[in-house]
Amino acid sequence: MDADRIRAHLDPIRHEFADPRSLVMPALKFAQTEKGHLTREDMAAVAEATGYSPSFIESVASFYDRLYTRPVGNRVVSVCVTLSCMLRGADEVWDALCEHEGVDHHHGGTSADGRITIQEAQCLGYCDKGACIQVDAEETKGPYTPEEAVKLVEELREAPTPAELWR
């Protein structure tokens, strides 16, 4: 994404912060919506739009789980594996999804066709709906059985990719 588009996104909220550095996170989150992850060029554009150095911007981006500095699939499927969801079958959901997408059962990963990334998430705040799953930054849903979870990714694979990838 280019710096001008990022600037245009930041202009309406600039006055809300006494220090412009607070704009770095909104800028990174917005820049990511174009490709679903942040390339070095995207981060350089954020640096240009906010006035901070590219290495500072990259160090901020690398801290947060939901800022991706490497390519991920068209859709990112986060499976909560924390305690409450584990008690409700999260490991079974996780295994079924990794199996179905042919990705590593320890770390998850992206399917060969590049459509779906399966990743572990820590407690998503939907423990009452465990085992729960969040697609990109859409509303988390649950409870899922392994079969229902597989159906979810099959539907996602067919669905059109959203214009803006908020993750």
Partner: protein, 432 residues
């Protein structure tokens, strides 16, 4: 004991109050209208003190007292920051408030701002709650249009606005100083305290930080009176509390109870519908995952700060995780250890290295490769990490494991020798 849905208005109304008109009908913004231009900021602060309201984010610090720590004569602008990072495992109460009753949070945040003379309030919300953040965005716009936010609120001369700020996935950003770092556009790593945020918080300015549930309790405290609130429940920790209950219970969800009025047994068996047929309670993490675990013998403890402290655990965030006797305590500990290892921000080495060791040792126990020396090793690690870190995350990682080893030593020894096969989970279908 009955559930008292009296503080959080969407519960009282029995429906979501996401439209301003609906919130107004339910008594919304009466508190702000009665206070602005009428009540002195100090008197409002004093009402918060008298209500006895304690912080609902985990530490339980008295809200009014914290507000009184902010300097009165600061030349710097003051801020209120609402902690909506809600990432403590087992906790999902703030989510309900934000998605069902966003205006009550905005009204509470505005009252807090008035009480300390702030220029702006920020809601720092975890990135995963994008849906809730959009509900809040819409509520802020509606409140602004109606004159409840912006310049010269209700012609009182008080200027105040609210910004919703999204995080991007990091549990540690719930720790208040890490939150401030993140809100300042940096990596979310905790700061050395003192100075405390009340003196030097956001942008070095005096800052009041409170949890969503804490701030949302303020409007009814104003309309019904501090004395009404203080009379609910025990003297030292009055009020109602939202408990999130999850895990092996039939009806997981949020329940608002009067503190001290309901026992853990009642929460599990009456409100949350109990366990599956033939199951018994094995372990409960009553205040989120960072508190010592307790067993069946403590089910009759009343749910309030003092009583839970009295049995060696803590009320924490009110995120109550229940495991029945089908679960394996060592596996549960391992899962929590993995959580803390993943969420350690890496700033201090005892925490960074320690959490990784806890996970490794518990993993080999679960795999049946544990050794008897591992108990001593874990204990010596706990001693070397506990109290030697910048923030309480590391102690939060230790508490559930250390307490479990003490309480369920026989299980640990058996698992060390035999390993622990993955037990059958409680699937949606088995809830019935």
């Amino acid at each position: 004991m009955p559930i008292l849905n009296s503080v959080y208005r969407h519960r009282e109304a029995g429906r979501p109050l996401t439209e301003l008109a609906a919130y107004r009908e339910a008594g919304g913004y009466k508190a702000l209208e009665s206070v602005l231009g009428e009540t002195d900021a100090d008197d409002l602060q004093y009402a918060f003190v008298r209500s006895g309201l304690r912080g609902r984010g985990g530490a339980g610090f008295p809200m009014g007292r914290k507000a009184s720590f902010l300097p009165k004569d600061s030349r710097l602008p003051k801020y209120v920051v609402c902690n909506a990072d809600e990432s403590e495992p087992g906790t999902f109460k703030d989510r309900e408030i934000m998605e069902m009753n966003p205006f009550q949070l905005l009204e509470g945040l505005t009252l807090a701002g008035y009480a300390i003379g702030a220029v702006r309030g920020y809601i720092y919300i975890r990135g995963e709650y994008e849906h809730q953040a959009r509900v809040l965005d819409a509520a802020v716009r509606a409140a602004r249009e109606a004159g409840f936010l912006g310049k010269d609120l209700l012609r009182s001369g008080f200027d105040y606005d609210i910004t919703v700020y999204r995080g991007a996935g990091a549990y540690i950003c719930g720790e208040e100083t890490a939150l401030l770092e993140s809100l300042e556009g940096k990596r979310g790593q905790p700061r050395l305290k003192p100075p405390f945020p009340a003196v030097a918080g956001l942008y070095g300015s005096p800052t009041l930080i409170n949890n969503v549930e804490t701030l949302t309790a303020l409007p009814p405290i104003v309309t019904r009176g501090a004395d009404w609130y203080a009379a609910l429940g025990p003297e030292k920790s009055p009020g109602t509390k939202l408990f999130s209950i999850s895990g092996h219970v039939v009806r997981p969800g949020n329940y608002e109870i009067v503190l001290g009025d309901t026992t853990l047994r009642e929460l599990i068996f009456e409100h949350a519908g109990g366990l599956r047929e033939g199951r018994r309670v094995k372990a409960v993490w009553v205040g989120g995952s960072s508190v010592p675990v307790i067993g069946e013998e403590h089910l009759d403890t009343p749910l309030d700060y003092e009583s839970l402290q009295g049995i060696g655990t803590a009320l924490g965030s009110g995120g109550c995780i229940v495991m029945d006797d089908s679960g394996c305590i060592v596996r549960a500990c391992l899962r929590l250890a993995s959580f803390y290892r993943h969420e350690s921000c890496g700033k201090c080495s005892p925490c960074r290295e320690g959490t990784s060791w806890f996970e490794r040792i518990l993993q080999r126990m679960v795999d049946g490769d544990g050794r008897m020396e591992d108990f001593e090793l874990l204990e010596s690690l706990f001693r070397r990490v506990s109290g030697k870190t910048l923030c309480p995350l590391a102690d939060g990682a230790i508490a559930p494991i250390r307490s479990a080893i003490k309480l369920f030593r026989d299980d640990f020894i058996r698992v060390c020798q035999e390993g622990s096969p993955r037990p059958e989970p409680m699937l949606p279908a088995s809830v019935g």
